[in-house]
């Protein structure tokens, strides 16, 4: 059996570690179930000097070292890969996750140390790669869903691997391989009173995918949103689409997992990391969340405060939870049940209140629904957490004014994120040329610059430059319509004479068609 080491890269260095990496924890559980010998070094939790990797790599004779995460872990992964190859030259270096799937060919060019990468969903690809390694067979060309190299270092993508059919066949994540005390110490967050007082929060995942097509969002190539096709040069490349294989765990799977976490780790809070709970609920014709809430209560997970209708305090028992919602898809009766079962807050990606921006965004919401969603959610007792963005391609003084007016009307104070084109998203492909121009042609420099969109990297706004966007962010935060009017008086006449700051293009890597990538045939 293969001896494998997982390294969880540092993410969001400026904040404390808050999330056990769900993907890695699942893959570790799958590998152990297959009989492999597994260790995890959670660099994100420990935050030790980078060189600790050397010691970790020399702790045993690893057959494989595995690393992966979202795009913003690239900086860490780049440095880590160098050290891993030096310290464990005999181990196969396996990569996976969003940083790789969004741009596999570029990553393989930039990181020559990586031997093989899992593209998209890895529940079956990863054990297939391990099996090869176990057999000392390093020819990965027959494994579906990977990127690999020939002896000259040139990379190749194999055809896409079908998504698994039944999520409930997955084991629970291997939480026990992570330093839980560190994560528990950072349980509290500022989203609701209950999450603020949480002492033992853990993430859970109920579903994969989201039926909507927001242009800034991406579905990791794990949700039927990815094809592998030959590009103009005749080489296989990733193509992201509007296709989706909507899959969700049964309420029984989720509730028994949370019950296990409650009984074993005494958790007081479960944070759903699902992309969008409401699109799943719609796919189930409105039954999934209702059933989940009923089973949550039945299993004794309902918090005391909700059971007794009393204010939440330190003596509350049970498990509170949160998730993601959608302004056009949430239903008051479902929200009410969610509140009763212990839901404390729901994140709403409202993004803007401008009709034109919303129409172009792919979110399936409009200004009226966005406004109404806050009241509907508040009425259920659940706290809405709206997310706001500025710097959309179509942003104008008028659109910013529409957003500020709505924020004033709704009593929301928000410091908006800047519209950012993360690799994999529609924006990324549409504006790649403009992004390159803003980074002197150095795409890697852009990737290394990406953070959490609270700073400007490359702008994709057709009318506003970084100087104006920074000012507009402050104006939205302060809800200062007077300053907005002054800025408009000063700039609008000039803007008429300027050519657009950036322009969209079509791209091989993005095909706006609804046809989903392959899904495995149901077995049994």
């Amino acid at each position: 059996m293969a001896k494998i080491l997982f390294i969880n890269p540092v993410v969001r260095e400026e904040d404390v570690p808050r999330h056990i990496p769900y993907g890695i924890a699942l893959l570790a559980a799958i590998a152990m179930k297959k009989g492999h010998l597994v260790q995890v070094y959670d660099a994100n939790a420990h935050r030790l000097p980078l060189e600790t990797i050397v010691e970790v790599c020399q702790a045993d004779d690893w057959d494989a070292v595995c690393i992966g995460g979202l795009t913003t872990t690239y900086n860490y992964i780049k440095k880590a890969c160098k050290l891993i190859k030096q310290a464990a030259p005999k181990a196969q270096l396996i990569a996976g996750g969003g940083f790789l799937t969004s741009m596999p060919t570029e990553i393989f060019k930039w990181l020559p140390e990586i031997d093989v990468g899992c593209i998209g969903e890895s529940f079956e690809t990863f054990p297939a790669v391990l099996e090869k390694i176990d057999n000392k067979d390093f020819d990965y060309s027959t494994v579906l869903g990977v990127i690999h190299r020939d002896l000259t270092g040139k990379s190749f993508l194999t055809p896409v691997r079908p998504n698994i059919h039944d999520l409930d066949t997955l084991p629970w994540p291997a939480w026990e391989l992570f330093p839980l005390d560190i994560y528990f110490a950072n349980s509290a967050n500022l989203f609701s009173e209950e999450s603020f007082t949480s002492k033992r929060r853990m993430d859970i995942n109920g579903s994969f995918g989201c039926g909507l097509t927001c242009k800034y969002c991406w579905h990791l190539g794990t949700t039927g949103d990815m094809l592998i096709e030959e590009n103009e040069e005749g080489e296989n490349d990733v193509v992201f689409t509007y296709g989706r294989n909507i899959r969700y765990h049964s309420p029984d799977y989720i509730v028994s997992m949370v019950k296990h976490l409650y009984d074993t780790y005494d958790i007081d809070f479960a944070a759903f990391i699902d992309e969008n709970l409401m699109t799943m609920d719609v796919a189930s014709k409105g039954t999934w969340l209702k059933e989940l809430c009923a089973k949550w209560i039945e299993a004794g997970l309902q918090p005391t405060c909700r059971q007794k209708g009393i204010p939440h305090d330190e003596n509350c028992k049970g498990v509170h939870w949160n998730g993601t919602s959608h302004a056009g898809l949430h239903r008051p009766d479902t929200l009410k049940l969610m509140y009763e079962a212990g839901c404390t807050h729901l994140v709403y990606g409202l993004e803007s209140f401008d009709p034109y921006i919303l129409r172009n965004l792919g979110k399936g919401s409009n200004a009226r629904k966005n406004k109404q969603s806050i009241a509907t959610c508040l009425a259920s007792g659940i706290k809405p957490i709206p997310n706001i963005i500025i710097g959309f391609p179509e942003e104008t003084f008028e659109s910013v004014r529409n957003t500020i007016n709505a924020l004033i009307e709704l009593g929301i104070t928000a410091k908006p994120h800047f519209a950012t084109a993360y690799p994999g998203s529609e924006w990324y492909y549409a504006y790649k040329d403009s992004i390159l121009a803003q980074y002197n042609g150095d795409l890697e420099a852009y990737i290394m610059d990406l953070g959490d969109a609270s700073k400007i990297t490359a702008t994709i706004s057709q009318k506003f430059s970084p100087v104006q966007l920074l000012g507009l962010q402050q104006i939205v935060y302060l809800k200062e319509l007077r300053l907005l009017d002054l800025s408009e008086q000063h700039w609008a006449p000039v803007q008429q004479h300027l050519s657009p700051v950036v322009e969209p293009k079509t791209s091989f890597n993005l095909r706006p068609v609804k046809e989903a990538g392959p899904l495995a045939i149901k077995v049994g």
Partner: protein
Amino acid sequence: MSNLLKGNFTTKKEVKKPEENTEKDSTQQAFKKAALNSIGGSMVYVERTDLTWDGEE
């Protein structure tokens, strides 16, 4: 000192987690965190009591 690695077998060598650097470090850390928090990031706050609008237009 605890083992930095967690897994389903015992590794040939143990990798010890260095002891936390006492009070000085934690004050430094706390200060850094507080300072960074006060400077930036994106944030959002919904004032429940501010809401007079009932959702109907």
